[in-house]
């Protein structure tokens, strides 16, 4: 198992190395940040001084070399815009995003699996058809539109929930969390709902497809033939059997939700990394972009690793192979 983890970590560093080159070259090759960072009013001298101070006058390979050198010391560089260490900037905002993403992905998964199993178990019932209609909608309606409608309905017209921001936070382990206060929770409901809607649809489909297929298998028939009650069959057999694709997708979705939070965070003014990255993209704040993408890649690898470990925990066959 240790060898497996080490192998994964080596793979991860390769991925991140590739990622950093791609992003670095990409940002340089196509965009020139200086045009955007420097105000249009800047004189030629100011312009040149800025280019020099940001190190943009050096040849590309040299810039990358410096970047990698700093990176080995854990220094991702400083934001062009904020003059803050990028890592600090990103890590400071990561909890807000993680909180939002975890709450929405977990609730979407729980809700989606329950609804999906029902829809797959009784595929011809009205409720199942309603569930599927909702999931087609959730799958199709663009996330930003859902966000707009949520704001319009619950914040503007009904006035039940705040339209944006993070609300009151409480410090736990030195990090600010909003889900621990009532005010914070009320702020998180709409963005989490927005982010969860698509995932919910996805999980419903997945659980339904898995249920439909699994219910037809001999495993279930055999369990039924042994007189085991339906409830137990669903809980002990079905749930475990469909869990593998669901956990795979859960892992993948955790990552993609992290990215999709960009949209939700923009709509709901949620102060997470998504908003940071969209602002940074708009001004081509390269150090932030590079660091964000590298960290995202790292996070992905970590999530995949965790998923693999969970698999081994669930599926004895994989455990056997990994050992």
């Amino acid at each position: 198992m240790l060898g497996f983890v080490i192998q994964r970590l080596i793979q991860a560093s390769l991925v991140m190395a590739a990622m950093s080159v791609i992003v670095f070259v990409g940002v340089y090759a196509i965009g020139n940040p200086i045009e955007i960072i420097i105000p249009p009013e800047a004189t030629q001298e100011i312009r040149e001084a800025t280019i020099r101070s940001l190190g943009l006058d050096l040849p590309l390979w040299k810039q990358y070399f410096i970047f990698v050198g700093n990176l080995t010391e854990g220094d991702f560089g400083r934001s062009f815009i904020y003059n803050l260490p990028v890592l600090e900037l990103i890590l400071g905002r990561l909890p807000a995003t993680l909180e939002l993403v975890l709450i929405s992905v977990i609730s979407a998964t729980v809700g989606g699996v329950v609804l999906g199993i029902y829809a797959g178990y009784r595929p011809d019932s009205i409720i199942a058809k309603t569930i599927m209609a909702v999931s087609v909608l959730g799958f199709s309606v663009p996330s930003f539109w859902v966000g707009l409608i949520l704001i319009l309905t619950f914040a503007v017209n009904l006035g039940w929930l705040p339209a944006g921001g993070r609300g009151e936070t409480v410090s736990l382990f030195g990090v600010q969390w909003s889900f621990l206060t009532f005010d914070g929770l009320s702020h998180i409901v709409l963005p989490a709902l927005n982010l969860a809607f698509f995932k919910l649809a996805m999980m419903i489909r997945l659980a339904r497809a898995g249920t439909r297929e699994t219910m037809l298998t001999d495993t279930i028939k055999f369990a039924r033939a042994a007189g085991i009650s339906e409830g137990r069959i669903l809980r002990r057999h079905l749930l475990k059997l469909i869990s593998i694709p669901i956990i795979t997708v859960f892992g993948l979705e955790l990552g993609s939700t992290l990215a999709f939070a960009v949209v939700t965070e923009t709509i709901f003014s949620w102060p997470g990394v998504g908003k940071l990255i969209i602002d940074s993209i708009a001004v081509l704040d390269r150090p932030v972009m590079v660091a964000y993408l590298i960290l995202t890649a790292l996070l992905f690898v970590l999530i995949n690793l965790t998923v693999d470990l969970v698999f081994a925990f669930i599926d004895p066959r994989i455990r056997a192979k990994g050992a």
Partner: protein, 295 residues
């Protein structure tokens, strides 16, 4: 009944498809919207991009208003005095063109990469598929976002970004299908003959990739349209002067709070109908291709 002997697979496919009335309805909607989009210049009362025909005095009028052009603005007008129905038809056109173009290019590119990897085998296969898997694990929206920001605004750039974000899905699918086929004896046998390698790929591998690729294509076209709308909403899509549906929604949203809902809601409804209909059709096709759900 031995009718199946005389019917082409396509007709059989259609027979099964037509059993799902909802899917048939959705297909009709998709076709209808496509026709509307491509015939937009003939159908609309106003060319929404011709500034000469617009009047600011007609701006933001509610549905049913009779403007200076002398006709009824069935869905109202936008902040530039554009007839919203016309703008939606033209927007639909842009959205569909972009979705189709991005989908088609990604399909071709992805299929070539996928089949090539399956056909070539060895380290080429390993490297290509590692890259594809890596890209698949990376969210499309983020990739598209970064690319659009770097490439700049415009249809071509947008399509390029969408293709880059989506081709991997096709590549993975084509690879999977082709790989399964590649292992079969007859392909091995064909490869042993002097028949050129690419001919084997085209003749034997490609046809087997088609069914799953069609499914992925429908989903990805819908995704491309949705992604384009999202990018437009984030201000990274097309220029405001040639609005896609996403841009119309985004332009109209600020007016929602002051009660002028139609500017954003109607394009939104059009977009949702389009995507839902494509997805329902795609779902049905997927179900029909899925052997495990068939008895």
């Amino acid at each position: 009944m031995s009718a199946s002997d005389t019917q082409s697979p396509l007709r059989l496919f259609w027979r099964e498809f037509s059993e799902n009335k909802f899917a048939v309805g959705s297909l009709v909607v998709v076709v209808l919207l496509a026709v509307v989009a491509f015939l937009a210049p003939l159908l609309v009362p106003q060319d929404p991009y011709n500034l000469e025909l617009l009047s600011l005095l007609d701006a933001r009028r509610p549905p049913g208003f009779v403007g200076s052009g002398g006709y009824v603005h069935v869905l109202g007008t936008d902040p530039q005095g554009r007839d919203l129905l016309s703008a939606i038809f033209y927007g639909l056109r842009i959205s569909i063109i972009i979705g189709l173009a991005a989908g088609a290019i990604a399909l071709v590119l992805g299929t070539i990469v996928g089949i090539f990897a399956a056909y070539a085998g060895g380290w080429i296969e390993t490297v290509l598929m590692r890259v594809i898997d890596l890209q698949l694990s990376f969210p499309a929206i983020l990739l598209a976002l970064v690319l659009v920001a770097l490439l700049g605004q415009g249809k071509g750039q947008l399509i390029a970004a969408l293709v880059a974000a989506q081709y991997a899905y096709f590549a993975r699918t084509a690879y999977g299908a082709a790989k399964a086929e590649r292992r079969k004896d007859y392909v091995e046998a064909a490869l042993a003959t002097p028949l050129a390698g690419y001919k084997v790929a085209v003749r034997h591998l490609l046809p087997n990739c088609m069914p799953p690729l069609i499914v992925v294509a429908t989903v990805q076209i819908a995704n491309a349209i949705s992604l384009e709308a999202t990018l437009s909403f984030l201000g990274l899509g097309l220029p405001v002067t040639e609005p896609s549906l996403g841009m119309l929604i985004s332009n109209g949203f600020p007016y929602m709070m002051s009660g002028r809902y139609w500017i954003s809601v109607f394009p939104g409804i059009a977009l949702i109908i389009l995507i839902v209909a494509i997805n329902v059709v795609g779902d049905q096709i997927r179900d029909q291709f899925n052997p495990r759900l068939r008895k």
